[in-house]
Symmetry: C2
Subunit: 375 residues, 2 copies
DNA sequence: CTGAAAGCGCTTACAG
DNA sequence: CTGAAAGCGCTTACAG
């Protein structure tokens, strides 16, 4: 009865009781059981007979009992919280594109949402550098405020990974540790989105439309000769390159080198890259881009340089591509958040695990496929 | 010594100790004092002699002691946490502009940053509706997970305000409760940014440049005849209107009605509004806009309809205006977050207060001025 | 399956 | 200013 959220429909005494303190003792007394049984109803219902369970649940509902989280944490030595770093969305200094914060913000939102379902709190923290981040993490972990960590933007040599690995802190990273000898080390669980798969989807979409003069705009000229990508940039580049290479005839006409241009991450860079691409490859009809900002730049510039109808695809499906109506690749951050959470917590239950990935069948590496949002 | 964040510089035994459990008892033993004195050093240093203070601090530093937060919360009945709602940045359904999430995301970031300095944790939560938000807040408050709330997008009739007011939950809203009879009710503390002041700054900037044919693009046609604004939309509109009204001569030439156009919040709406404005007011040289998305639409469309060099100003100074290089108004979210925090916590100290605004001199209403970022 | 006892690590209130 | 005692509200481990 007290469960109704419609405050205005409740009479005054009931409204006053809405946030009233109720302890486990009061519930136990009202239900005629001991406090341990109340605790069991909440934490180990399988240990209680159905009759007792129902009786106690009813009283809990009636009195609006919610366990004190500090007491629970103290006794059980579990905070039921995870920490996630947030950064500023305001791109200060060098431009970071139109919507630098989109992926992170949406990931944090989806993570909070999936965490709530399993009764886990999400605590945000900030840091200016790896060093200050280590200090923040240390405080959060030593004070037992969090049981596990969600890290992102990790690289192979990363003091944060040293910290969590050495102390066996449960963690997951969103993003592969680019540059690591073994991306699939069981010591480093991660969830990521397959960039190559994404750009190959976009490339194939153009090919299916009989559009063959397809270029690419990325951030940095790929250095490595490896067959495997070594960065997000290379990952997204290779999807386009490999798909194009399978089209032998096309490459003969105009080689891949003349079809790819690289810049930084901004609309202006997209414009610049588009002008350069148009010089090197005047027949260009479609451009696969590493980001929505680059794609927007390419799209806007195409009109200036007299390309009748350029098709572009971006990456991230952020509001930019929605607003300007071009194709993009959705990272499905709901699924990314869900997978991250499940690697950390298991598919059920509500406690963060110290997973021994080396000996468990749990998959510590989840590579998800982005979805093509054709527009 | 254990305070150094540079893990790689530490030898193995020291690194291992980095996250080791240290209790208050160990600190007390090592310092040769009682645990209460250690507690006082941390929570009430004025009660301890300087000699003892220094001695204990040294041991705390040496052992890397960080108090267990659950124990502290349980005993002191303070969670030292505040809750803030986060929403999805992905605009699903009706378009919400290019960067709908910017203000909220940056506010949450700045709030987390200022909270960390004062030792307060920020817990994020999500909700689909007021009803589900009430349930989330109820759980957070009853479980004593948070001491105070940061609310936003509040309106006059808002079940969340009923809840917090009735139960005297410390809270602050970012944004005025538009529509309330008395915006300055001591029951409803808020921090907000002065939209009128912002658009008048932009209008005056154009006037100072001897540009007089200034139009306005907003979201909704202002209904009220009140001298005071009744919504964000009206607030931003009135800054332009009042500034223009002071320029009698200009208004005679072309009246204000022909200079203002309204649409929704998207780049496309900005384009549409610009076409309409150009018809009604062909001399237009500059447009003050209610948002960066509208401003971008106006700017892009101006080229299509043959306006040589249109000046536009947006609002929020988000990456869109930075990337496209037009003037905008910065809400200074660092200051908004800082003020919000200080109304909730006081200027010093580290506990959330139940402020009796009616009897305290504390200013419960802070209206900040946005800064003109001229480009 | 149920309940009496112990105790998680602190801070508070108070005696010395 | 300092320290011995009490206790915050739970969960755990164990006895019945």
């Amino acid at each position: 009865m007290l469960g109704s959220p419609f405050m205005e429909e409740l009479d005054m005494p009931t409204r006053k009781k809405f946030l009233e303190n109720v302890s486990i003792t009061e519930v136990a007394d009202a239900a005629g059981v001991s406090i341990q049984t109340v605790s069991n109803v909440l934490n180990a219902p399988e240990k209680v007979t159905e009759k007792t369970l129902l009786k106690v649940m009813k009283v809990i509902e009636h009195l609006g009992y919610t366990p004190n989280s500090a007491a629970r944490s103290l006794r059980s030595a579990k905070s039921s919280s995870i920490a996630v770093r947030i950064d500023s969305s305001a791109s200060s200094g060098p431009l970071k594109g139109l919507y630098a914060g989109f992926i992170q913000d949406e990931f944090v939102f989806q993570l909070t949402k999936v965490s709530e379902i399993r009764g886990i709190k999400v605590i945000s923290y900030t840091a200016d550098s790896h060093e200050s981040e280590i200090e923040k993490l240390r405080t959060l972990l030593k004070s037992k405020e969090v049981d596990g960590l969600i890290l992102s933007s990790t690289v192979d040599i990363d003091p944060r990974l040293d910290l969590v690995t050495l102390h066996q802190i449960p963690f997951i990273t969103f993003g592969r540790p680019w540059g690591a000898k073994n991306l699939y080390s069981t010591k480093h669980p991660w969830v990521d989105v397959d960039g190559s798969f994404g750009t190959s989807l976009a490339t194939n979409m153009f090919l299916d439309k009989k559009i063959t003069n397809i270029g690419f705009i990325g951030w940095v000229f790929p250095k490595h000769k490896d067959p495997d990508p070594q960065s997000v940039n290379e990952d997204r580049y290779l999807g386009w390159r490999n798909t194009m290479q399978s089209q032998i005839k096309l490459i003969k006409t105009s080689p891949l080198e003349s079809r790819a241009v690289f810049g930084n991450e901004s609309v202006e860079d997209g414009r610049r890259a588009m002008r350069e691409l148009h010089k090197k490859f005047p027949e260009v009809q479609a451009v696969v881009c590493a980001s929505d900002s680059l794609a927007l730049g390419a799209l806007l510039e195409s009109k200036n340089i007299g390309i009748r109808e350029l098709l572009v695809s971006g990456f991230d499906n952020n509001p930019v591509s929605q607003e300007f109506g071009f194709t993009s690749l959705d990272q499905n951050l709901r699924q990314v958040a869900k997978s991250s959470f499940e690697v950390l917590m298991g598919e059920e239950g509500n406690q963060i695990r110290r997973i021994d990935f080396a000996n468990e069948s749990t998959n510590a590496h989840v590579l998800l496929r982005p979805a093509l949002i054709a527009r």
